[in-house]
C-alpha cells in the first residue's frame, strides 16, 4: 500500500477529541418501564388526561411489538428495563468562565466559528449580564408572537395549546407506526412545537438553539410542526458543536404537517458522540421523522448532515397526499471508525402530479458501514407522479462499506421514476493532484469531500451550510498536514 493510502486511513481513524461530559444533577425516576413510570412522567409534566391515555395506549401497543432487525446495523440487545425514563435535569453545574473549559473543546468551537457567548452556553458557563439569553429568547418570542407563530417546548404546548397538540400529535406518525415510535409515544419527555398560522411566512429561521435553556430534552424527544395554508417555515435542528449524552438510546419522533400551499423546510445537523475508535459509548440514534404534505401544492423538504452517533437509523419521509405536492430529501451521511448508519427516505406518492427528489451522499471511512435505504412508492391514484433519486457513495480507505437499498413500488403507469447511483473512492490521484498544486493532504481531502457534498450544502440555509462545511473539515481532521 502506498503512503498516500495510509495517510487517508490515518485521517479516517482520527479520534473524536471533542466530546465532553458535564456533571448534571438530576431528579430521576427509578430504572425501568411500566405504567407507573408513564403516569409519573405525565404527572410531573402536568399533562392533560388524554395525553396520559394516549401514552398508555402506546405503551401497551409497544409491549406487543418486537424490535426491528431488518436494518443493516449490529448492536447488542438493548435492555429497556435498564433505562431511566424520567430525569428532570436541574441546572448544569455552572462553570465560572471559559478558562475552566477543556482547551481542546474551545479549539473546536473556534474552528466551527461558534460565537463566544454561544460557546459559554454550550460548555455550561454561567452567562453574564451582557448577553442574557433569556432576554434574547424573549425578544425573539415577541417577534414571533406578533405574527401569530407559536414556537415553544412540547411541555409548554401541552399546557398552553393542548387543543392544537391533540389535533395533530400522532397524526403523521401514529404510535402504532414502529417499535421506536411506540416507545417514544409512551415516554417522550419534551421536544419542540411549532405552529405557523395561515398565510404567515415565518420571519426568521427557527432554531432549537433559541430554546437552549429550556432544552435538555433528553433521549425521547418529540417535535411537531404544523404549517397552515399558505405559510412557510424553515426549521433548524441540532448543532455542529459535538454533543455527548449519558443516554445511549435516542428515539425521537418528528412530525411535520403542511397544509394547502404551505412549505416546511427542515434542516438537521447531527453530531452526537460517535463512540471511541471501537465504537464504545456512542449514541444510538433511532429516529422516526415524517412529513405529511396534506394540502394541495404543499411542500416538505428534509435536509440532513449526519456526522455523529455510533448507530444512525432514520428515514425522514414525505407522504405526498395533496395534489401537486412536493417532497424533497437531501442528505449527507458521514460514517467513520466503527460508526454504522442505515439512513434514507421514503417518498409515498398518494396524490396526483406529486413530485419528489432524493439526493443522498454517503461518505464512509475507517471501518464504518454506511447504507442508503429508500422507498419510492406510487399509489394507484397518483397519476403523473414523478420521482428522481440520486444516491452516491464515497469511500475513504478500503475497510469501510457502502450499501444502497432502493425500493420501488410503482402502481400507476403514468408515473416516472428515475434512480441514479454511483460509488467512488477518493483516489490517491486526486490527492496527489491537489498536493501538486500546493494543498496539504488534509486540505485536499476536505476539498474533495466538500465538492462531493456540494448539491446538499447548496440547499442548506446559508449559515448552516458554512457550519456544515467546517464540521466536515473538523470531522476529517487527522494528524497529517
Amino acid at each position: 500500500m502506498s503512503t498516500e493510502v495510509n495517510e487517508i486511513e490515518e485521517l479516517a481513524n482520527r479520534e473524536y477529541k471533542y466530546g465532553f461530559v458535564t456533571e448534571v444533577e438530576t431528579e430521576s425516576a427509578p430504572k425501568g418501564l411500566n405504567e407507573d413510570i408513564i403516569r409519573l412522567i405525565s404527572q410531573k409534566k402536568e399533562e392533560p388526561e388524554w395525553m396520559l391515555e394516549w401514552r398508555l395506549k402506546a405503551f401497551n401497543h409497544w409491549k406487543k411489538m418486537t424490535e426491528p432487525n431488518w436494518q443493516n446495523v449490529n448492536f447488542p440487545p438493548i435492555d429497556y428495563q435498564d433505562i431511566v425514563y424520567y430525569s428532570a435535569p436541574k441546572k448544569k453545574k455552572a462553570l465560572n468562565s471559559l478558562d475552566e473549559v477543556d482547551p481542546e473543546i474551545l479549539k473546536t468551537f473556534e474552528k466551527l466559528g461558534i460565537p463566544l457567548e454561544e460557546q459559554k452556553i454550550l460548555s455550561g458557563v454561567a452567562v453574564d449580564a451582557v448577553f442574557d439569553s433569556v432576554s434574547v429568547a424573549t425578544t425573539f418570542k415577541e417577534k414571533l408572537a406578533e405574527e401569530g407563530v407559536i414556537f415553544c417546548s412540547m411541555s409548554d404546548a401541552l399546557k398552553e395549546h393542548p387543543e392544537l397538540v391533540k389535533q395533530y400529535i400522532g397524526s403523521v406518525v401514529p404510535y402504532t407506526d414502529n417499535y421506536f415510535a411506540a416507545l417514544n409515544s409512551a415516554v417522550f419527555t419534551d421536544g419542540s412545537f411549532v405552529f405557523i398560522p395561515k398565510g404567515v411566512r415565518c420571519p426568521m429561521e427557527l432554531s432549537t438553539y433559541f430554546r437552549i435553556n429550556a432544552a435538555n430534552t433528553g433521549q425521547f424527544e418529540r417535535t411537531l410542526i404544523v404549517a397552515e395554508e399558505g405559510s412557510y417555515v424553515s426549521y433548524l435542528e441540532g448543532c455542529t458543536a459535538p454533543q455527548r449524552d449519558e443516554n445511549q438510546l435516542h428515539a425521537a419522533v418528528v412530525e411535520l404537517i403542511s397544509l394547502d400551499n404551505a412549505e416546511i423546510k427542515y434542516s438537521t445537523i447531527q453530531n452526537w458522540y460517535a463512540g471511541d475508535k471501537d465504537g464504545i459509548g456512542g449514541i444510538y440514534n433511532f429516529v422516526t421523522k415524517r412529513g405529511l404534505c396534506k394540502g394541495i401544492n404543499s411542500k416538505i423538504s428534509w435536509t440532513q448532515v449526519e456526522t455523529g452517533s455510533s448507530i444512525t437509523w432514520k428515514y425522514p419521509s414525505c407522504v405526498l397526499q395533496g395534489e401537486n405536492s412536493i417532497g424533497e430529501f437531501y442528505s449527507v451521511a458521514v460514517t467513520n471508525n466503527m460508526q454504522q448508519a442505515d439512513t434514507g427516505t421514503k417518498m409515498i406518492h398518494l396524490g396526483k402530479n406529486t413530485r419528489s427528489t432524493i439526493v443522498s451522499k454517503g461518505i464512509s471511512a475507517g471501518r464504518s458501514n454506511n447504507s442508503y435505504r429508500g422507498l419510492v412508492k406510487v399509489n394507484k391514484k397518483a397519476s403523473g407522479a414523478r420521482n428522481f433519486s440520486q444516491c452516491d457513495s464515497l469511500l475513504i480507505g478500503d475497510q469501510c462499506g457502502a450499501h444502497t437499498f432502493p425500493y420501488l413500488e410503482v402502481n400507476n403507469p403514468s408515473a416516472i421514476v428515475e434512480h441514479e447511483a454511483t460509488t467512488s473512492k477518493i483516489g490517491a490521484d486526486q490527492i496527489f493532484y491537489l498536493n501538486q498544486r500546493g494543498l496539504s493532504t488534509e486540505d485536499a481531502v476536505n476539498m474533495i469531500v466538500n465538492g462531493y457534498c456540494k448539491e446538499v450544502f447548496n440547499v442548506l440555509p446559508m449559515e448552516f451550510a458554512v457550519e456544515a462545511q467546517k464540521l466536515l473539515s473538523v470531522s476529517l481532521e487527522g494528524s497529517v498536514g
Binding site: E4, Y433, L434, Q436, M447, Y452, C453
Partner: protein
C-alpha cells in the same frame, strides 16, 4: 535551479530510472524525449513527489534544497509545477476555488499575504488570455466534463496563475489537435522568462516547433543516452528512436 544526480528509481521492485543526470539552469527549456516506457513520465512524477516510486539512489536538488525529502505540497510551494498528462477531475470543486486555495497556500509558505477575492479575480482575468481560457471553465468543476484540449489548457492556465519557478510538462501535447497545441505552446512561451525554467516531456518533435528547447535529451531504457540542441529533436523525428539504439552502446562507452 535543478540538479539531478545519478537518480535511480523503482516501482514495485522494477527499476525504471537507471542513473539520470540532468542540470537545468534558470531561463532554460529542456526537452526530454524518448519512446514509450523509457521512463519519461516517471521522471516527471518523481520530480513532483509521487510517493509510489522508490528512490534507490541519487539526489534531486532544487535551488540547493533536497527535493526528495520534501512532501509534494512543499515542492509545489517551493515552485515546482507539474502539468499532468492526464489532469484529474475533482467533482463539485470549482476551478477558481482550487486555484485560489492553491495560490494562497503557496503565498503563505512564502510569507506573503493571501489574496482576497477581488485581488484574486483581477489576477485570474489578467491570466486568462494566455491560453484563451473561457470564463465559463473557471466556475466549472475542476476538469469535469472538460474536453481533452480544455484539460491541457487548464493545466497551463493554472501554471500561469501559480507562477512556478520550474514548470514540468508531462506529454502536454498528447491528445491535442493542432490549434489547441498552438494555444498551449503559446501559453508556455508567454509564461517563460529568464527567471524560470521548463522541462518538457514529449514523444514527438512537433511540440518543440512551438516551444523551442535549449537542450534535448533522449531517454531510453531509464537512461539519458544522448543530449544535444534542438537539432537533435529534428534528427530523431526523421530517423526514429531505433537509430539511437545502435548509437547507445557507443554513447555510453564514450561516457
Amino acid at each position: 535551479m535543478l540538479e539531478i544526480k545519478n537518480l535511480r528509481v523503482a516501482i514495485n521492485g522494477k527499476e525504471i530510472l537507471k542513473g539520470i543526470n540532468l542540470k537545468v539552469n534558470k531561463g532554460e527549456v529542456h526537452a526530454i524525449m524518448g519512446p514509450n516506457g523509457s521512463g519519461k513520465s516517471t521522471l516527471a512524477q518523481v520530480l513532483a513527489g509521487r510517493e509510489e516510486y522508490e528512490i534507490l539512489e541519487g539526489e534531486i536538488l532544487f535551488e540547493g534544497k533536497n527535493l526528495i525529502e520534501m512532501a509534494p505540497e512543499d515542492r509545489a510551494r517551493e515552485g515546482v509545477f507539474l502539468a499532468f498528462q492526464y489532469p484529474i477531475e475533482i467533482p463539485g470543486v470549482s476551478n477558481t476555488n482550487l486555484l485560489k486555495n492553491a495560490l494562497n497556500e503557496i503565498r503563505k509558505y512564502r510569507g506573503q499575504e493571501p489574496l482576497d477575492a477581488m485581488e484574486f479575480l483581477t489576477l485570474v482575468k489578467k491570466k486568462m488570455p494566455i491560453v484563451e481560457m473561457r470564463q465559463e471553465l473557471l466556475s466549472r468543476s475542476v476538469n469535469e466534463a472538460f474536453s481533452g484540449g480544455e484539460k491541457k489548457k487548464n493545466e497551463i492556465f493554472q501554471m500561469a496563475v501559480l507562477e512556478p519557478k520550474l514548470g514540468i510538462l508531462d506529454e502536454t501535447d498528447s491528445g491535442l489537435d493542432i490549434d489547441a497545441l498552438r494555444i498551449v505552446a503559446n501559453g508556455v512561451n508567454q509564461i517563460k522568462n529568464e527567471n524560470n525554467a521548463f522541462v518538457v516531456v514529449t514523444h514527438y518533435q512537433r511540440l518543440l516547433n512551438y516551444i523551442v528547447p535549449d537542450f534535448v535529451h533522449v531517454l531510453q531504457n531509464g537512461k539519458i543516452i544522448k543530449s544535444g540542441n534542438k537539432e537533435l529533436a529534428l534528427e530523431l523525428e526523421e530517423k526514429g528512436y531505433d537509430w539511437l539504439k545502435e548509437h547507445e552502446a557507443e554513447f555510453v562507452a564514450a561516457k
